[in-house]
Amino acid sequence: MSTLKLQSLGKVFGNTAAVEKIDLEVGEGEMVAFLGPSGCGKTTTLRMVAGFVEPSSGSILVGGKDITRLPPNRRNMGMVFQSYALFPHMNVSENVAFGLKARHVPKGEIAGRITAALELVGLSGYEARYPKELSGGQQQRVALARVLALRPQLLLFDEPLSNLDAKLRVQMRHEIRTLQQEVGITSLFVTHDQEEAMTIADRIVVMNKGRIEQVGPPAEIYDNPRTRFVADFIGAANLVEGRLEGDVFQSARGARLDCAPPDFAPTGAPVVLSIRPEKIEILPGAGEGGTPGTVMRATKLGGLIEYVVELASGDTILVQKQDRSPADHLRVGEPVRVSWNTNDARLLP
């Protein structure tokens, strides 16, 4: 249990920069998720923390102590891998015992620690099973017990749920979260599944091309994206290109749209208006109030209906509505008006 601090951490492979100048502080007992598209440097960052990848620049501090040059087997961190990485020739209890023996935990203490760790992950009674005799979810629980038994300062997860089927994945992420809060170990959780990041983490680090785009609690990341990349990557967003004319946003195609005042100094350069589809009100008919447009497409998505509306300017806007009754359905070609709370439409540089 410790704090973690990354100071301008970077990694260059050959001549490609995998990670560039990452600065991050993780508080005691906090769970931070690294989220980003494939190849953005999440795994590299995590492996630098674990000691498998030597940083090209910067430093890593755990509990205030610089551990940048410490080999992985001397760092007290528990890593959980996507492929589980259990020892196939050892049974469950031997798998958990491996780390305890490697760290020279007194013999008399080992059995008790194995029992406690397996109990924690709900696998009591599976001691004698071999990995191949377990389901994927059970194997990942053994991997978790294996690191928890060592009482590590940090838990590191690299897409631990990606090999599980969708239903189990949802169940396991809740289990991991509950367990992590119970034992209170500071954790990093790498994933490219935003729903997973949203539900599991205290804070999310959104990465892109080796850099941090934004750090914040899930709700803030979703409601208040700071960059185009975050707005686009997290959830669905309407991103309308345009510029500020005084206080008013004007799209490149000429539509004047309501928006919140920018929280950056306007420079006259092109900006983007970002608004979530579910924040948009859609009214039938060509009456007063709202921006007029036409329904181009209607798609039913489970409990939602998604409309693509083309505004008079030619800009298209995605709108999501709860599907309450078929009587409310709008037909393709029908004239409509769209409107939103000005605070929900944010300007991004």
């Binding site: 000691g51 087997n73 001397r74 890593m79 020892f87 196939p88 780390g99 490697a102 690191v147 060592l150």
Partner: protein, 291 residues
């Protein structure tokens, strides 16, 4: 309706695919062994009439009751054992390096491992004779740098045979070990390091047990090839150090005592099968959990 005939056709394809191989093996392996067996039961009269028409067990008895022959059997087994151990010790680091490389580097090392197999056994063995003789390269070098005063005799010695055979058979061991090591998920090594294990612990507790299938298959291959090797013991060992293969050759081709040669061949086959099946059953018990 449609499924049944299609399956039948597939069954036929499978039969057709294994048929040539099966026929070949039946004719030239099982058939030949059977004739060898019949021949081993024939009587033999040295000099005059040679092979007789009688049926007897005298050839087997001649082999089992003669310490000279038994010593050759023991020597051959020991030789194969040392060659296997040598190949394991030299081959493991090589195979480990090979399994870790990717792309062009791996292709190059792989080729380097296979190169010895591209030369004929006879030429390769002549090479060893030049290297190993008392005035050969190895002894001359060792003497000129002052490590030894008089040459270490290696030609016409077991040492020379073992050295040469290790070189010839190393590729088989390396390829078997490489296949096993490639099968190990790399994240397992990371996990072991992360759990606090140092390199020595990882080698003995993770790498070695997981490489066991390769160690077994490589050892079986090398042991079998070593004990049946002919050219190397014949040329490097010479007549002074007979092994099973050269003994069989001598009986069959030089002395024309085919019945005894056949009997010795079959004794060797049985000994080999017994040793290897014992080894395999021990190994498979150890591996059953791991696979």
């Amino acid at each position: 309706m449609t499924a049944a005939p299609r399956r039948e056709r597939r069954d036929w394809t499978q039969v057709l695919l294994v048929l040539p191989n099966t026929v070949w093996l039946l004719l030239f392996m099982v058939g030949a062994l059977f004739f060898l067996f019949l021949m081993s039961l024939r009587g033999y009269e040295p000099g005059g009439r040679g092979m007789l028409d009688t049926w007897e067990l005298s050839n087997y008895w001649a082999f089992i009751s003669d310490p000279f022959y038994l010593k050759i059997l023991g020597r051959s087994l020991l030789m194969a054992l040392w060659v296997t151990i040598g190949c394991l010790i030299l081959g493991f680091p090589l195979a480990y390096a090979l399994s870790r490389l990717r792309g062009m580097k791996r292709a190059l090392l792989y080729f380097a491992v296979l190169v010895p197999l591209l030369t004929s056994a006879v030429i390769r063995t002549f090479g060893w004779m030049i290297l190993l003789s008392n005035k050969g390269f190895v002894n001359q070098t060792l003497m000129s740098i002052g490590l030894i005063d008089s040459p270490i005799p290696m030609m016409y010695r077991m040492t020379g045979i073992i050295i040469a055979l290790i070189q010839v058979l190393l590729p088989f061991m390396v390829l078997a070990l490489d296949a096993a090591l490639l099968n190990i998920d790399r994240q397992i090594y990371d996990a072991a390091r992360n759990l606090g294990a140092g390199r020595v612990r990882i080698f003995f507790r993770v790498t070695l047990p997981l490489a066991l299938p390769g160690i077994v298959s490589g050892s079986i291959l090398v042991f079998t090839l070593a004990i049946s090797a002919f050219v190397t013991p014949a040329l490097v060992g010479g007549p002074r150090i007979p092994v099973m293969a050269t003994l069989i050759y001598q009986q069959g081709i030089a002395l024309l005592n085919w019945p005894l040669g056949a009997a010795i061949s079959l004794v060797m086959l049985v000994v080999l099968v017994v040793i290897l099946s014992a080894l395999m059953s021990i190994a498979s018990r150890a591996m059953r959990r791991a696979s």
